[in-house]
């Protein structure tokens, strides 16, 4: 099962490599990974999506928690949560018909065209990973995709539940 783990860790050089290393060393999957400092600049928040049965996820959570640089770990998929991923897609847009169709498609998915040249568009889209996948599928049948950049998943628990130090 796909899980989203949120990790609060010291914003120190090497802290990220310990987490990434742990995953490869113990044979766990990393599907996506995002990391950045929090409102407290001494802390980073890392979000990792991984797959595994309950037992594997329990081990991953415990192993990550054991790292000396890590303050807290939470599996936000345990409860109600919001997840988002940001994607930018560069597509070929060199005819008027194609440009109209791409704009329409982007609007349907509530995307934004953020860069325009005579031959290309860059469309920005925010949503769940599934929505981003669906947009790519829809684009593929209409236009030539030149490149795709995705941020990886980040997310928060809904309501009062939080991951703070």
């Amino acid at each position: 099962m796909r899980r989203i783990l949120s990790v609060l860790l010291e914003n120190e050089p090497g802290a990220l490599s310990r987490i990434v290393g742990l995953f490869s060393q113990r044979g766990y999957n990393i599907e996506t990974l995002t990391v950045a400092p929090t409102d407290d600049p001494t802390l980073s928040r890392l979000t990792v999506t991984t797959v595994g049965d309950d037992r594997v996820i329990e081990q991953i959570t415990k192993q990550v928690n054991k790292l000396v640089d890590v303050l807290k770990v939470s599996d936000i998929t345990d409860g109600d949560h919001i997840e988002r991923e940001l994607m930018m897609v560069k597509v070929k847009a060199d005819t008027t018909a194609l440009r109209d169709e791409l704009k329409r498609l982007s609007d349907i998915f509530r995307g934004l065209v953020v860069d325009v040249t005579p031959t290309t568009y860059v469309i920005q889209l925010v949503g769940t990973s599934a929505k981003l996948d669906a947009f790519i599928e829809a684009l593929r049948s209409e236009a030539e995709i030149i490149e795709v950049a995705r941020s990886g998943v980040t997310g928060l628990s809904r309501g009062e539940k939080s991951l703070r130090f």
Binding site: G14, Q59, K66, V68
Partner: protein, 570 residues
């Protein structure tokens, strides 16, 4: 005000470090220069950095104190990796100080540059790269704190050369206390869980106490013995747990697992409640986890949450120190006066007695050739079972674990997790340096001893009179045993065709060498060996090449599926 190099030495002194095992080189010359003046610290110059790590490891295992290693950058640092990994697998407290090229040169592939923090990352509890000279006291103090607390382990401190520059002075501030918001190991077990575990245990008809290395690290053998005696529990130890409960106690069933005794493995397999203290249900214990102890409710106490339910699910998990949890359990017993049902226990013990009577450790002696088991038994006799025994890895290790009962903790020093050949001699040296009045034995074989034999030279330089008991079967015995049993007797590259003359070799290094091949001369030779208190004696004991270690679990079977001797040829 002082230089970074002086700070390193001052900090170590202030932390109470008495011994450093190390090897100088370019990146640490400034630290070595500062060490030249230090009168409170003895430095042991090794012959290979791997051995320095094993010595610090043996030192730590025998005393419970943190072992200290100091090496230079690049090859000096990478040579310690096997030693660090060995300590990591067995949760041994150790601090490795490694030199690094100057900060400005990091990443430029400078001479003797190696990313030590990166190299060691998978095998350390934690690591530091020192960024500023002012940080030295705090970083090193943190390293010792992390190494020794919670589940102990090795910590690397990588120190770039510019940080220890003797021409620069900085204020020296030693931290009053260590506070790390991200590191607070749980020591006290959850009250409700402790109570629940004890209730399950008290309702058991066929309980067993299963002790691992954590029960030695917890320094509470007296508590363990009191608890086991009070409830009349059968006790078994892992390879790492030997000595946590007296090996010759009537309730001790000996070691369990791959080469465990029949009584230990049968008791585990047939138990209804297992109380595991600081043990981690390692594959060399459980055999096939799917068939592991089918009727047992598992109560698991460990200071490291990741050890719980990793391979075998715990029914009642307790995160905490074995010492704290046991003393809480004893308090509850004191207040309630409860005990196990005597009739059930009597019947359980009589069942166990039947397994014991199989005498699975009996073997046939010969008057022509020395049996390895008999060497260990003789060694036990001659040393009154009081020696510190450091082992290498292989058949001799299992023979020592089975035939030398340890009545006290920290006497059995072996690489249980990583299984590092070459560990024995340096570990025995570390023990002897820590405890000069003790008898420190290295039990080894003709394969293992050659993996760090250069340390005979260090022993001569510093007068470290360990006793080397080498069971020489002219083969890699455990490899050969598996080849006999699993590979149809095809001895692929497990035969040592050109062994050195170990007696002459010992003599070449300035020590005493004794060769024995006649069983009738064994005891006398060993007595001679142990009577030479100030001499390193290398006993080259020629033993039966065809002897196997039994019992031996059958692969993919349950705990108690065991071979008790060589299978009869069909």
């Amino acid at each position: 005000m002082m230089s970074g190099a002086e700070m390193v030495v001052r900090t170590l002194t202030q932390l109470g470090v008495k011994h450093i095992f190390g090897y100088p080189g370019g990146a640490v010359l400034d630290i070595y220069d500062a060490l030249f003046e230090a009168s409170d610290i003895e430095h042991i110059l090794v012959r290979h950095e791997q051995a320095a790590a094993h010595m610090a490891d043996g030192y730590a295992r025998a005393t419970g104190e943190v072992g200290t290693v100091l090496v230079t950058s690049g090859p000096g640092a990478t040579n310690t990796i096997t030693g660090i990994a060995t300590a990591y697998m067995d949760s041994i407290p150790m601090v490795v100080l490694s030199g690094q090229v100057a900060t400005s040169m990091i990443g430029e592939d400078a001479f003797q540059e190696c990313d030590m923090v990166g190299c060691s990352r998978p095998v350390v509890k934690h690591s530091f790269l020192v960024k500023k000279a002012e940080d030295i006291p705090t970083v090193i103090a943190k390293a010792y704190h992390i190494a020794a607390t919670g589940r102990p382990g090795p910590v690397v401190v990588d120190i770039p050369k510019d940080i220890v520059n003797p021409k620069e002075s900085h204020p020296y501030i030693f931290p009053d206390s260590i506070n790390m918001r991200s590191y607070n190991p749980t020591v006290k077990g959850h009250k409700g869980q402790v109570k629940k575990a004890l209730q399950v245990l008290l309702a058991a008809k066929k309980p067993v106490l299963y002790l691992g290395g954590g029960s030695i690290a917890a320094e509470c053998s007296d508590l363990i013995t009191a608890f086991a005696e009070r409830l009349n529990l059968p006790v078994t130890n892992t390879l790492m747990g030997l000595g946590a409960f007296p090996g010759q106690h009537k309730q001790c069933l000996g070691m369990l697992g791959m080469h465990g005794t029949v009584e230990a493995n049968k008791t585990m397999h047939n138990s209804d409640v297992i109380l595991a203290l600081g043990a981690r249900f390692d594959d060399r214990v459980t055999n096939n986890v799917k068939k592991f102890c089918p009727n047992a409710t598992i109560l698991h106490v460990d200071i490291d949450p990741t050890s719980i339910s990793k391979t075998v699910s715990a029914d009642v998990p307790i995160v905490g120190s074995v010492k704290q949890v046991l003393s809480d359990m004893i308090d509850i017993l004191d207040s309630t006066g409860e005990s196990l049902e005597p009739a059930a226990m009597a019947s359980w013990w009589s069942e166990i007695q039947v397994w014991r009577e199989q005498k699975c450790l009996s073997y046939a002696k010969s008057d022509k050739v020395i049996k390895p088991q008999q060497v260990v038994e003789a060694m036990h006799r001659v040393t009154n079972g009081e020696a510190y025994v450091s082992s290498d890895v292989g058949q001799h290790q299992m023979f020592a674990a089975l035939y030398y009962p340890f009545n006290k903790p920290r006497r059995w020093i072996n690489s249980g997790g990583l299984g590092t050949m070459g560990f024995g001699l340096p570990a025995a040296m570390g023990v002897k340096v820590a405890l000069p009045d003790s008898v420190s034995i290295c039990i080894t074989g003709d394969g293992s001893i050659q993996m760090n034999i250069q340390e005979l030279s260090t022993c001569m330089q510093y007068g470290i009179p360990v006793k080397i008991i080498s069971l020489n079967n002219q083969a890699l015995g455990m490899v050969r045993q598996w080849q006999d049993l699993i590979y149809g007797g095809r001895h692929s590259h497990s035969y040592m065709e050109s062994l050195p003359d170990f007696v002459k070799l010992a003599e070449a290094y300035g020590h005493v060498g004794i060769r024995v091949s006649d069983p009738s001369e064994l005891d006398e030779a060993l007595e001679k060996c142990f009577s030479m208190k100030d001499k390193l004696v290398f006993m080259d004991i020629l033993v039966d090449q065809d002897e196997h270690v039994y019992p031996m679990q059958i692969k993919f079977g349950a705990m108690d599926d065991m071979l008790l001797g060589k299978p009869k040829a069909e």
